[in-house]
């Protein structure tokens, strides 16, 4: 089962890749475009509301004009100037003048008069701010520097309601230009609070910062307290960021005053929502991973089973069990592959069977040849004895026959399997001599072999059965028998042709030799064995070919490869 792991993991990765990448890409794009859309929308809205807030503050900027107006009136009032330059003044008269000068602004501002040394002399409020203020420091110093112009200072404030958020001041001069004192206008958080009431969204918070980003006023104490860290952020990175990710900041500057308005609003898409979206995406990804794994397991199981069967079958074939077959039902590629495999196994098994049978036949033929070689040494010796006896008794034919027979036998029992054609022909001569004596020279034997072919090696005793066949069947019936042995080479094949002048073969016998061994026809056994040896020893193209000569005699041709010099081991 594990053998298909690699294939399966490839399948899993492939499916994961095709499932996850588009999913991840899509969800990232959707999330991102969603964020961009919402953030650009919320930024536009925030800028709009910041402008709205600034417009609200411009009431103070307009009131700035009112403050300027009041400051000018105070500065130009003869009564007040006199009150500041000399002690002797009518208390009520001074206040009447002061109240009438500050009528327009007293709803949100408290007006004080300080003398040239910074000592508080008159105030429209009932809670004095400071009894005296340094003239070389802070707001009065700035007012003196501005020479009559209204200046703004943001005092150090903790955001408490009883501390002024903004201080405006202008110096007061005598017509000759002598510094008489200062007018001071205090604006408290409550005044600003009134100004912005109803102008901010429910969740919006406003922080007003001095030109150097120190907190002046805020609608929420919490935001007021973060002013310091906002200033650090601005100085260090130029970007305001909320660590929790819940809020975002919008900043705009009020040019005339130099004050900054910072609006803190919650994101339209809170981090919680984003987290939720991410979680959903991750869950989707997980789901698709599971699906991919499941599908790939299913697929691989479906494919792995037939593959595994095939593999087992191949293994069996490897171990030479050719009866292995696979299930070839179904119509898919695997079934076709199974069919092919089965056919291949069948062919293999058929081939093997043929091979085995051929081998068995060869072995039988060789066995028969051996059986024919009966205890030859004894026979040879006997023949030699016979030769000497016949010589002593003056019977030359017996001597010749026994000599030939002994040579023949010796040649037969020699160890070599192939011999040069020359030697084969010499031994054949002995055999023919014996037969000639036997048949009282009723036939002549003609040998026409070119000298060039004499060295070709041939199987031992190749020609004897053929010539024997010619003597037995060919010249049996004719008075002047004639056996011819010719040889020639054609296309690397040695043809040795033995022909006679007998009656010839019956027509059905001509062509390639195709006899079968039979006990009854022992004459043909020699030819059958010879044919088998040639075919099995060399190749199926080799063997014996039967035909009739134009004169009517029979001709047997042995065809075998023309190999020279070397003898087969």
């Amino acid at each position: 089962m594990l053998r298909s792991t690699k294939f399966r993991s490839r399948l899993i990765y492939g499916l994961l890749f095709t499932a996850l990448i588009p999913l991840a890409l899509c969800s990232f794009l959707i999330l991102q475009s969603f964020r961009i859309r919402t953030s650009s929308r919320e930024q536009q809205q925030a800028l709009a509301s910041a402008d709205y807030v600034r417009a609200a503050f411009s009431q103070i900027t307009q009131s700035d004009d009112r403050l300027n107006h009041a400051a000018e009136r105070i500065g130009s009032s003869e009564v007040l100037r006199r009150a500041l330059s000399s002690e002797a003044s009518y208390y009520t008269l001074v206040y009447t003048e002061l109240f009438s000068a500050t009528q327009e602004i007293r709803s949100y501002a408290v007006a004080d008069l300080y003398d040239a040394a910074g000592k508080l002399v008159y105030s429209t409020g009932n809670q004095p701010y400071r009894d005296s203020l340094p003239v070389d420091w802070g707001i009065l110093y700035a007012a003196a520097q501005a020479e009559g112009q209204l200046v703004l200072r943001c005092p150090d404030s903790s955001g408490a309601a009883d501390e002024p958020a903004l201080l405006y001041s202008a110096s007061i001069h005598s017509p000759e230009g002598r510094l008489l004192g200062y007018s001071l206008f205090r604006i408290y958080p409550s005044g600003l609070q009134d100004l912005f009431r109803g102008r901010l969204g429910v969740q919006d918070e406003l922080l007003i910062l001095s030109p150097y980003w120190h907190p002046v006023f805020s609608t929420s104490q919490n935001l007021f307290n973060t002013a310091h860290s906002l200033r650090e952020q601005l100085m260090n990175s130029g970007t305001l960021r909320d660590e929790t990710g819940v809020y975002f900041y919008t900043v705009c500057k009020d040019e005339p005053s130099g004050l900054f308005f910072v609006l803190r609003q919650p994101h339209m898409v809170s981090p919680d929502t984003t987290r939720q979206l991410v979680v959903i995406t991750v869950l989707c990804a997980l789901g698709s991973i599971l699906l991919a794994v499941w599908v790939s397991l299913r697929f691989s199981r479906q494919m792995a089973k037939p593959l595994e069967n095939l593999q087992t079958a191949f293994e069996q074939v490897e171990h030479n069990r050719l009866d292995a077959r696979v299930d070839e039902s179904g119509r898919d590629e695997f079934a076709q592959l199974g069919k092919r495999f089965n056919r291949m196994a069948e062919a293999l098994s058929r081939n093997q069977q043929e091979l085995v049978e051929g081998e068995r036949e060869l072995n039988q033929a060789q066995l028969r040849m051996l059986q024919a070689q009966l205890n030859p040494h004894f026979l040879c010796n006997t023949l030699d004895t016979m030769k000497w006896i016949s010589k002593t008794n003056k019977v030359p034919q017996v001597a010749v026959m026994s000599t030939n027979l002994a040579d023949l036998l010796r040649f037969c029992i020699g160890p070599e399997e192939t011999v040069p054609l020359r030697q084969e022909l010499q031994v054949l001569q002995r055999y023919v001599e014996i037969q000639q004596i036997r048949l009282s020279d009723r036939f002549e034997f003609v040998l026409t072999v070119p000298e060039a072919l004499m060295d070709c090696s041939v199987p031992k005793m190749l020609l004897q059965p053929i010539v024997e066949n010619a003597i037995l069947h060919g010249i049996d019936t004719v008075a002047e028998g004639r056996i011819t042995l010719a040889a020639f080479e054609e296309q690397g094949m040695l043809h040795i042709c033995v022909s006679d002048n007998g009656p010839g073969f019956s027509p059905e016998m001509t062509g390639r030799y195709h006899g079968a061994p039979s006990r009854e026809d022992s004459h043909h056994l020699g030819l059958y064995n010879l044919n088998t040896i040639l075919q099995k020893y060399y190749s199926p193209e080799c063997g014996l070919f039967l035909e009739n000569t134009p004169e009517g005699g029979a001709s047997v041709t042995a065809v075998l490869p023309a190999e020279r010099g070397t003898s087969h081991a």
């Binding site: 990232f28 991102q32 961009i36 930024q43 340094p134 070389d136 200072r153 100085m235 130029g238």
Partner: protein, 337 residues
């Protein structure tokens, strides 16, 4: 292969640009850029804040304040020697600044000429900011007037184990006090040895704890800075402040421009500002400190400080011998009695 890389690159670019689009808006346009000054200060918020706010208003320079202990900040300056993060060291005793002189840039402020003659040391890399006399305090419920009038009363043995004092290794003012006693009473080592033994093996955790210890009656007497004592004095307090009759030292704390500071021009403007008359007057008027300027008179309620032999107090000497004196002090302190 090439085409595949190109495709991947394209996708990444698209994603990158999308990410960039999603970024938050920035407020860089309102950022002061280099129009700023970074101050390391060991002064308390109540001193730094008004000065810095006024500096911002008058110069338009944005100031970043980084507060810490003197030694902590000097260590930071030493660590940042090659890439200074701050421009000015504001605060810290003269001896501490002198010891770190190689991290500072000498600055001959035009205000130097207006300083009191004793503070007009032109070859120094730091400049004096305020004068801080060492004073004695006692709890009026535990000691009667006349029992503590000067250094010799402290060293006489009658207040053995009753003196509130912090470890001079940790508190700059206590180190100055011990050295001052040595100057005033003659033989430096002998005096300091006697002083150390008078403590009876007990010290306060910090110089701020000295006042609390005396106020609460844990100790009868103590040694502290005039500024610290003045802030604590007032109706309802049992503390009495005594200027030692033998004289006392007025070692200034200082301000210094850090070497290779990124905004050294702004730093010099700040030094001029704090040495200027307006700030010095603020010190005397509201912050219980004595000005180093000749043209700013102290609070008329405060007496002239009689320096006596302490006038010879050498900041350079004290700074060079600090380590030696401190180790000796630790030894004497351990001897007890």
């Amino acid at each position: 292969m090439m085409r595949r890389y190109l495709a991947v690159l394209l996708v990444l670019c698209t994603l990158g640009s999308l990410c960039a689009c999603g970024a938050q808006p920035t407020q860089t346009e309102y950022s002061p850029g280099d129009n700023r000054l970074v101050i390391y200060t060991s002064h308390k918020q109540e001193i730094v804040q008004p000065i810095v706010r006024e500096f911002e208003e008058r110069t338009g320079i944005w100031v970043q304040i980084i507060s810490g202990g003197t030694n902590e900040l000097l260590d930071r300056i030493a660590a940042e020697e090659n890439d200074p993060q701050a421009d000015v060291m504001f605060g810290g005793g003269g001896e501490s600044l002198q010891a770190c002189s190689k991290y500072f840039q000498p600055y001959a402020s035009p205000e130097l000429d207006s300083l009191l003659p004793q503070y007009r040391e032109e070859d120094r890399v730091w400049l004096p900011f305020s004068s801080l006399p060492i004073v004695l305090i006692y709890n009026s419920k535990l000691l009667s007037a006349g029992q503590l009038t000067g250094w010799n009363d402290l060293l006489s043995g009658s207040l053995q184990g009753e003196i509130a004092f912090a470890d001079p290794a940790l508190s700059g003012s206590c180190f100055t006090a011990a050295v001052t006693a040595g100057y005033v009473c003659g033989n430096m080592e002998e005096t300091m040895q006697t002083f150390a033994r008078q403590l009876g093996g007990e010290i306060c955790s910090s110089s701020g704890d000295i006042l609390t210890a005396v106020e609460e009656g844990r100790k009868k007497a103590g040694v502290t800075l005039e500024e610290t004592a003045l802030k604590q004095l007032g109706p309802g307090s049992d503390l009495v402040m005594v200027y030692p009759r033998e004289g006392t030292s007025c070692i200034p704390d200082g301000v210094a421009v850090i070497r290779n500071a990124k905004h050294s021009e702004n730093a010099r403007r700040f030094v001029d500002f704090v040495l200027g008359k307006d700030v010095q007057q603020l010190l005397a008027r509201e912050l219980f400190r004595r000005s180093v300027r000749s043209d700013v008179s102290a609070d008329p309620a405060l007496p002239e400080v009689y320096a006596g032999a302490a006038a010879h107090y050498s900041i350079e000497w004290a700074s060079t011998n600090r380590e030696k004196l401190l180790s000796q002090w630790a030894f004497w302190f351990g001897q007890e009695g």
